[in-house]
């Protein structure tokens, strides 16, 4: 392997004590693991909440404590945790932290102390959020979009404490995400090693890089909404609160604009979809290329598609507000931009498929998850085209069709990439392989199970079954068959939920008892697999930084026996490998 000739000019102060090595660590790899474990922990809570909701929907009245308030509280917390505290944190804080320095050949993030603070602020945000379960009135039940006036009006669960804790938690999370984002972007711009040009970076880095820029620009909108709503709630201002009568009483507010909140929220909310999706796009590109032993098709096109999606995602937000009474011309504009964003997105799907075309596909567990992502994202994306059109959206709005759509595209698809990514990079993180049999079992239950859960919801939506109801009995317009389907979905959802224990067990067991992985078990070409130590030690690269000579996708290069060429192999070394391979073939023929 080639390394830069120079030794590092600065001393690497490796932490020695347990506290500085594993708790107050400034090492990006430890911070990534901290982020990931915390995100998985809150993710488990969100899964349990969804299980409770499904029991209520499938078998109403089974759980005594599940009244309307508890249902809405579970729904709100489930949504917010999944979108913000699990997916965003895991993709940027977890994968971003671990992969960026390793993939660009840096020793660490450029601001390690700020990086550490980012995690502790995230943890604080999680603690504040979860503390709302233990305050009078419980967490807010206003729905994850927190729309005023209802979210801070009497009658909504958690109106006293829950909503305040939610808003404060979000503000803290945004501070954490900003500290992290500044690190990720600056590291990519400033700390790449010799030869690592922007157009040699793996697509994982591109996805996380652009998503981080988007997070830096979009999260302020959520911060603005949260601060202004806190003012309305705590100081009695009327930014969002209109004059109205609540529980028979005229409230003190007047003149505020709930629609203004919706604009601000969705100016954050829609880019948020891509803040989650772009890292997923990047990671899955690397998984597909590695496990199909083929270079990614249309690399530059993929990069420009990521950038185009990032830009366009800031001008589609109001497609979440078609039924808010907006000017029809606005609706037309946002429908058009929504359809336009489908173009670069579809381009990516085509390129994944073309990468697979005639590839040497290895159906490893990461690859299974990657393939499952493509089809799931396709299904979720196509229903997005339905909902992106105003005239189709209006009748489907607030039905289970919407629930099915966003769970497929924003829930299941990214989660499949999370799983695929963990199965793929776990050997680098721990030096051990995850158990393959458990992994495949986990995959098939999750993949088939999520389809059994969310496919029928499209049908329920077409039937007109509204979302956000906590019980569907005794409504003349909802047929009995819908209730039977709800029971079916619940049984599957619980099965899929419990089956995640397989994954958690696999993680815990394999971290200590798994088969030793070696340094590069998948035969991957990208830089993170070329570290001198596995798991990488503090400083990642030993005495000298690596030098990069090629892109990250040199698989099945003609004339080379080894079916991948690491990014660190120079042209001269490649020629030697060619000659060696030719010599081996001649020797084979002679024998």
């Amino acid at each position: 392997m080639a390394y830069a000739e120079q030794a590092e000019t600065e001393a690497l102060h490796e932490p020695k004590s347990f506290l500085t090595k594993y708790i107050w660590s400034q090492d990006h790899k430890v911070i990534a693991i901290q982020y990931s474990l915390t995100a998985l922990f809150v993710g488990v809570i969100a899964v349990v909440l969804s299980g409770l909701m499904r029991i209520q929907l499938g078998f109403p009245g089974t759980l005594e404590f599940m009244d309307a308030s508890a249902y809405y509280q579970a729904m709100t917390m489930h949504g917010m945790i999944m979108v913000i505290y699990l997916l965003t944190a895991l993709f940027l804080g977890g994968f971003g932290n671990y992969l960026i320095p390793l993939m660009v050949g840096a020793r660490d993030m450029v601001f390690p102390y700020v990086n550490m603070l980012s995690y502790w602020f995230y943890l604080l945000a999680v603690v504040v959020l979860l503390s709302s379960f233990f305050v009078p009135g419980g967490p807010t039940g206003s729905g994850w979009t927190l729309y005023p006036p209802q979210s801070i009006s009497q009658g909504t669960p958690g109106v006293e404490w829950g909503i305040v804790l939610m808003l404060v938690s979000l503000a803290i999370f945004i501070v954490a995400a900003t500290m992290g984002g500044l690190n990720y972007v600056t590291t990519v711009l400033q700390a790449r090693t010799h030869g690592m040009t922007l157009f040699r970076m793996p697509l994982s880095v591109w996805g996380i890089f652009i998503a981080s820029i988007m997070a830096l620009l979009a999260f302020p909108a959520l911060f603005v909404s949260a601060v202004m709503m806190l003012f309305d709630k705590l100081l009695g201002t009327s930014f969002f609160m209109p004059a109205m009568i609540s529980l028979g009483q005229q409230i003190d507010h007047q003149g505020g604009s709930p629609i203004l909140f919706q604009h601000l929220f969705w100016f954050f909310g829609h880019p948020e979809v891509y803040i989650v999706a772009l890292p997923a796009f990047g990671l899955v590109s690397d998984l597909i290329s590695t496990h199909a032993r083929k270079n990614i098709f249309g690399y530059r096109m993929m990069v420009w598609a990521i950038i185009a999606i990032g830009v366009l995602s800031f001008v589609v937000w109001a497609h979440h507000m078609y039924v808010s009474g907006m000017n029809p011309y606005f609706g037309f504009f946002f429908a058009v931009t929504t359809l336009i964003i489908a173009v670069p997105t579809a381009l990516k799907v085509y390129n994944w498929v073309l990468t697979l075309w005639r590839g040497d596909i290895h159906l490893t567990v990461p690859m299974l998850f990657a393939l499952a992502f493509i089809v799931t994202f396709l299904v979720g994306g196509l229903t997005g085209l339905f909902l992106g059109n105003v005239i189709v959206d209006i009748p489907l709005s607030d039905t289970y069709f919407v629930v099915a759509h966003f769970h497929m595209v924003m829930g299941v698809a990214p989660v499949l990439v999370v799983f695929g990514g963990i199965y793929h990079w776990f050997p680098k993180v721990t030096g051990r392989m995850l158990n393959d049999t458990l992994g495949k079992l986990h995959f098939w239950i999750t993949f088939l199970g999520t389809y059994a859960i969310f496919f029928p919801m499209h049908y329920l939506g077409f039937q007109g079954m509204p979302r956000r109801y906590y019980a569907y009995e005794n409504y003349a317009f909802i047929p009995q068959s819908a209730q039977e389907l709800n029971a079916f979905i619940t049984v599957i959802a619980l099965t899929v939920g419990v089956s995640q224990l397989l994954f958690l067990f696999n993680l815990a067991w394999s971290a200590f008892k798994g088969k030793p992985a070696g340094s590069n078990p998948w035969g991957a070409a990208s830089l993170e697999w070329q570290t001198p130590n596995t798991p990488p030690i503090h400083g990642n690269w030993g005495a000298k930084l690596p030098v990069v000579h090629r892109w990250a996708y040199d698989y099945s290069v003609p004339g080379i026996e080894q079916d991948f060429v690491p990014q660190t192999v120079s042209a001269e070394e490649l020629e030697q490998m060619r000659q060696l391979s030719a010599g081996t073939k001649i020797a084979d023929v002679k024998t």
């Binding site: 790449r192 040009t197 603005v224 003149g255 604009s257």
Partner: protein
């Protein structure tokens, strides 16, 4: 930023700045300051995004019927002398910091320290002045929840003040380093970053000042231009 993005694109000299020059400590210090500058610029982009969205909300909300302008003849902002005085403090603060920054480049320690200290003192004077304006608002009965115009005044000036307060924390840390006789070359980057941040906050303050002191007709014109009316 464009130059930064393209610097390492295909065809250009390879290598990130971290390891561009194996020369020695000098190169590493230069790289570190470049990294810090990039980080600060990105942070300022985030702050800009934050205030842009607040201003968008301001303009949108100003078009509701219940908005009572602060620039009316009997309202607190009919006479702007207090805000002009505060602005003068912030301008002086920036001038002092700029002087300090230039002195640091020329390795003149005394001038650097004096300029830097004065910059902080004028900034504190600005904050005290802003607090004084708040007190005037309260004395006149213009409370935070009385009217959305008041709410925005407190919110925007408060957030701007908090950003300056954050800057003053960094300023305090650097002053402490000066007192501990940390060599000037090690602190010149910090002085420069502080100055850039101050200049940004001065620019931001004038945007906020201009908006807060504008008439409802101006808000209406902006709202029409943005399609909010």
């Amino acid at each position: 930023m464009k130059r930064l993005l393209l610097r390492n694109a295909d065809g250009a000299d390879p290598g990130g700045s971290w390891s561009r020059d194996p020369g020695g400590i000098q190169a590493t210090e230069a790289d570190r300051s470049q990294i810090a500058r990039t980080g600060l610029r990105l942070f300022l982009v985030v702050v800009s995004s934050l205030f842009f969205l607040f201003l968008f909300a301001f303009i949108a909300r100003s078009q509701m019927a219940d908005w009572l302008p602060l620039t009316d003849p009997l309202a607190p902002l009919a006479n702007l002398w207090q805000l002009w005085l505060n602005s003068a403090f912030l301008v002086l603060s920036c001038i002092a910091l700029q002087w300090s920054r230039m002195a640091a480049r020329q390795a003149r320690l005394d001038a650097t320290v004096i300029g830097f200290a004065l910059g902080g003192v004028f900034a504190i004077a600005f904050l005290v002045g802003q607090f004084w304006v708040w007190q005037q608002f309260v004395a006149w009965g213009y409370f935070v929840a009385s009217n959305p115009a008041n709410s925005f005044f407190y919110l925007l000036t408060g957030l701007h003040g908090l950003h300056l307060l954050g800057g003053l924390i960094a300023w305090g840390i650097i002053v402490a380093k000066f007192l501990r006789r940390v060599p000037l070359p090690q602190l010149s980057v910090s002085v420069e970053l502080c100055t850039i941040y101050w200049h940004y906050l001065l620019g931001l303050w004038f945007v906020l000042f201009a908006l807060l002191a504008s008439t409802p007709e101006t808000y209406e014109a902006i709202a029409r231009f943005c399609g909010l009316r």
